[in-house]
C-alpha cells in the first residue's frame, strides 16, 4: 500500500475541484434559454435517475423497496414534509423487513 494520506489528499482535491469550479466560474445568470432550461431540468432528472431503480436494490427485497417508494410518492404527493416522507419510507421498510417481506 502507498501512503494513505496522499491517497486521501488526491481524492479530496479532485472531488472538491469538481464541486467548486462551476460555482466559482459561472457567476452570472445564463441568458441562453436552452442552457437555462437544461440547468433547470437537471435536478429532476438526476434525482429521478438516482432514486430508481436503486431504491429497489437498497433493501432486502424488491417488494419492501417498492413499498417504500410507493409510500414516499403518495405522502409527497399530498404535501408531507421532507422529514415525514423520509421517516415514513424508513419505518415501512423496517417493519416489512421485520416480517421478511
Amino acid at each position: 500500500m502507498r501512503d494513505t494520506l496522499v491517497y486521501i489528499a488526491v481524492m479530496a482535491v479532485v472531488t472538491y475541484l469538481i464541486r467548486v469550479l462551476p460555482l466559482t466560474l459561472i457567476r452570472r445568470e445564463v441568458r441562453n434559454v436552452t442552457v437555462r432550461s437544461f440547468l433547470y431540468y437537471i435536478p429532476y432528472v438526476t434525482l429521478s435517475v438516482m432514486t430508481f431503480p436503486a431504491i429497489l436494490d437498497s433493501t432486502g427485497s424488491q417488494i419492501s423497496g417498492f413499498a417504500g417508494l410507493a409510500a414516499a410518492v403518495a405522502l409527497a404527493w399530498f404535501g408531507a414534509s421532507l422529514f415525514s416522507v423520509a421517516a415514513a419510507a424508513c419505518a415501512l421498510v423496517f417493519v416489512m423487513e421485520l416480517f421478511a417481506l
Binding site: M11, V20, F38, L39, P53, G65, A80
Partner: protein, 252 residues
C-alpha cells in the same frame, strides 16, 4: 443577518434526515475501511474531506490494490463528475452577487442529497442554508465512518437498510410536489426513471459504471427536454418560479 440565521436553521432541519441516512451508509463504509486495514483516523479524515459515498467506496478498492495516485484521481473524477452538473445548476440558483468565499465554502457541500434540498428552497439559495445542512450532515458522515471502523457489525442490518432508504425518500419528497403542479415535470420524472431502469437492468449497459450512467442519462434527458420544452421563466433549478421574482431579480 436574521435572515441568514433563519436559513441556517432551516438547512439544519432539512439536514436531519440526510444525517440519519448518512450515518447508516457511512457506518457500512467504516466497516469496509476496517476490512482493508485503514486506521480509524485515516477513515474519518477521508470521510470528512470527501463527503461522497460512491467515490469513497471505490477509493478503498484502489488503496487496497495499491494502484497509482493517478488512477485514484481519475477514478474520483469519473465517479464524482455528476457533482459538476449539480454545481452548474446551483450556480444559477445562487444570487449572481454571492461573494467568492461563499462559493468556495458551498462547494464543499455539493452532495447528491444537499444538492437535492438546496434546489428545493423557494427563490434564491442562501449559502447559510447549505451551511446549516452541512453542519449536521458532514459530522454524521464522518462519525458514522468512525463508528463503523471502531465498532464493526454492531448495528442490525435491518436498521442500516431502513435508514439508507431515508435518502431515497428525500429525493422523492423533492421531485414529486413540483410534478403535481407541472405535468411536464411529472412526465420527465417518469421517463427518467424508466430509462434509468433500462440502463440498470439491460446487460448491454452493464459495463458502464453507476456514476457514468447518472451523467449520461442526466445530460441526454435534460438536454432533450431543454430542446423540446424550453422554459423561459424564473431560475434554473428552481421549483417554485413564481415567488422568486422580487428577491431574485432585484439585485441581479
Amino acid at each position: 443577518m436574521a435572515d441568514h440565521r433563519k436559513h441556517f436553521f432551516s438547512g439544519m432541519r432539512d439536514g436531519i434526515p440526510i444525517a440519519l441516512g448518512y450515518f447508516a451508509v457511512s457506518f457500512t463504509l467504516g466497516i469496509a475501511c476496517r476490512n482493508i486495514g485503514l486506521s480509524a483516523f485515516d477513515s474519518t479524515l477521508m470521510s470528512f474531506t470527501n463527503l461522497t459515498s460512491a467515490g469513497e467506496f471505490a477509493a478503498l478498492g484502489i488503496m487496497a490494490a495499491g494502484s497509482s495516485y493517478w488512477e485514484m484521481a481519475l477514478s474520483q473524477l469519473v465517479i464524482n463528475l455528476r457533482y459538476m452538473l449539480m454545481s452548474c445548476s446551483l450556480s444559477q440558483k445562487m444570487a449572481p452577487d454571492t461573494p467568492m468565499y461563499h462559493r468556495l465554502l458551498v462547494g464543499y457541500g455539493v452532495t447528491d442529497e444537499i444538492f437535492g434540498i438546496s434546489v428545493n428552497v423557494p427563490g434564491r439559495l442562501d449559502p447559510f442554508y447549505v451551511y446549516g445542512a452541512v453542519s449536521v450532515a458532514s459530522p454524521a458522515w464522518a462519525l458514522g465512518t468512525l463508528f463503523g471502523v471502531v465498532l464493526g457489525n454492531v448495528l442490525p442490518a435491518r436498521i442500516v437498510i431502513a435508514l439508507s432508504v431515508a435518502l431515497y425518500g428525500m429525493f422523492i419528497a423533492i421531485i414529486v410536489p413540483p410534478a403535481r403542479k407541472d405535468r411536464l415535470l411529472g412526465m420527465l420524472i417518469l421517463v427518467s426513471m424508466a430509462l434509468s431502469w433500462i440502463f440498470a437492468r439491460l446487460p448491454l449497459f452493464s459495463g458502464i459504471s453507476g456514476g457514468m450512467k447518472i451523467i449520461i442519462l442526466t445530460v441526454l434527458i435534460s438536454g432533450a427536454a431543454a430542446f423540446l420544452f424550453p422554459v423561459d421563466r424564473g431560475l434554473a433549478g428552481c421549483a417554485s418560479n413564481t415567488d422568486d421574482k422580487g428577491e431574485g431579480e432585484g439585485h441581479a
